[in-house]
Symmetry: C2
């Protein structure tokens, strides 16, 4: 077996020898997971899943780490834009840069995704993949979440680390399937989640091959979108990067619905899970399924909640199913 | 360590316990490989390569298996077209189908790649990924090479199987980086090479997510090219699918030059290899480096040969460096 990068030896998760799913309350979600895995790995069961088909896919924002009040990658882009503006002060005079640089929250909140594209381009393109990686690594080590005051990688959910360790111990290969940028998430996925770079399925900006002025071969990120890995594109990205229908898929919003649909609709033993953010004390509560106001990110609609009930997808309540949310608690 | 599909347990290659590179003559190529790997895995060496960076990329056509007189995938497309014409006889009347279906070798030889696109579309799109997989699996089990009269998977090179086994035993992760179709090669890569589907980097036609008439979620191959994984796009495909600069790259033509350039031009301990087809007795000889006529496939030009000498890339002579070419010998 070749080493798939740092799989198995990463600091933020307990080893398989730790108590199984220790931060999960002994409720229906934990029982459903353990029952599913027991059958998937039992050769005498009709639900046995061949080792090569033990693929588990996890959304990131709102599933593995906090996505409120702002996606980490958006915070990165805004901080990166501020750094760029130091040497390009004219950015302060032009929208949408002006609103972002002056931290005009009302204007920022009103931007459509289309209007934010120049910010993505300015902060994510015309840069070598190595330089981009260095920027993200520096930022992820330094940046602090605006409410929690902690590093974003500290705001990953301890029960999800335990779930990934548990699934690995049962022979599952773990992939991150995120709407976020593949090159962004790859920077910390190995150390934070034990997921190697080739197992990060994310939105992809093309990297163009060429040479720098000294003739050294380089890859430069350019503004050609190869994949927006969200909603219906998640199964498409899964096919491109993995080539198998997953056995387990875990998400938290409508952006993950097709991934769960694809995973559980294939006729085999499969499990869909959705994380419900219903914990105002330890994290956030959002989504109409709770009768709470809708949110711009991570929409978990009533329709999705109803579909989960109908199709047997496991809804994991942060409030009720998790004994502990973060490792630092 | 998660199981990356069937890595390590595949039928056509010897285990790591077999004599190292037994089908390689004890010449400069074999010595260069063993010396490179010894230094890459020696913690006290300045050339030590961290386990997560031990990435080896292999071209397929002409590097892992026979590519003359026709690429296997082209033979598949022509056979598939014949099957389609049985229920769609009108194909026999329209070019480029007509020439292919009547096996008009002169006309076929004169087609440009652009003119062959309708054949790729007819045989590779408007089909679910599962149905396509079944067609390829059926074909690869049945089809015979026009000259050797053997299955294409039997026409893989025994020394390359041994090299992959040797590199795996030294902790390298093996990827196939082919101009061929990702979905085509994935069908047999696990069983033939021990390379799991997520480690096949190939040309990609988009797969569109949707539902069949009974509401089952499916992926359908469509005629949108996501990646033509050849020449400069090989490093780009490597970044997309792997996310690391390889340590070892093995090819056989100008289509692989950027992959070798990218691999060995990064400043680290790295190795580039090119297979020279100079064996008219056991396989084929082609390429101007031999003073032989050029070929439509697998062009190994004099310029590439010169560059290999200049940059220290190892040119592997099939005639001189390989004791045995095929397992069936």
């Amino acid at each position: 077996m070749p080493p798939s990068a740092s799989e198995g030896t990463y600091p933020n998760a307990p080893g398989a020898e730790a108590a199984v799913l220790a931060s999960w309350n002994d409720g229906p979600a934990k029982r459903a997971i353990i029952d599913f895995v027991a059958r998937a790995t039992d050769r005498s069961s009709q639900c046995f899943v061949r080792p090569e088909d033990r693929i588990a896919t996890f959304d990131q924002d709102g599933t593995l780490w906090v996505e409120q009040p702002i996606y980490a990658q958006v915070a990165f882009a805004f901080d990166r834009l501020a750094a760029l503006a130091e040497s390009n002060p004219e950015l302060n005079e032009v929208e949408p840069f002006k609103s972002v640089l002056s931290r005009d929250q009302v204007a920022i909140g009103a931007f459509t995704l289309k209007e934010l594209e120049p910010i993505a381009a300015a902060t994510h393109t015309n840069i070598t993949v190595e330089a981009f990686r260095a920027h993200v690594a520096e930022w992820i080590a330094r940046a602090r979440h605006p409410i929690f005051g902690r590093r974003y990688t500290e705001l990953t959910y301890q029960p999800m680390h335990e779930l990934m360790a548990y699934l690995r111990s049962a022979g599952f290969a773990i992939y991150i399937v995120t709407g976020g940028g593949q090159d962004f998430v790859r920077v910390f996925a190995e150390e934070t989640y034990g997921v190697s770079r080739d197992r990060v399925v994310g939105s992809i900006l093309a990297a163009r091959f060429g040479h720098d002025t000294s003739g050294r071969p380089i890859l430069t990120k350019i503004a050609n979108l190869v994949l927006i890995n969200d909603v219906a594109s998640k199964p498409e990205g899964i096919h491109m990067m993995i080539g198998r229908r997953p056995t387990i898929a875990f998400g938290n919003s409508g952006g993950d619905q097709p991934m769960l649909d694809f995973t559980t609709g294939g006729g085999g033993h499969a499990m869909g899970l959705l994380l419900l953010h219903d914990d105002t004390v330890r994290e956030y509560a959002y989504g109409p399924a709770l009768g709470l106001p809708d949110s711009k990110v991570g929409t978990f609609t009533q329709a999705l909640y109803d579909e989960a009930q109908e199709r047997g997808w496991t809804v994991v309540s942060m409030k009720n199913d998790w004994k502990r949310v973060f490792a630092f608690e």
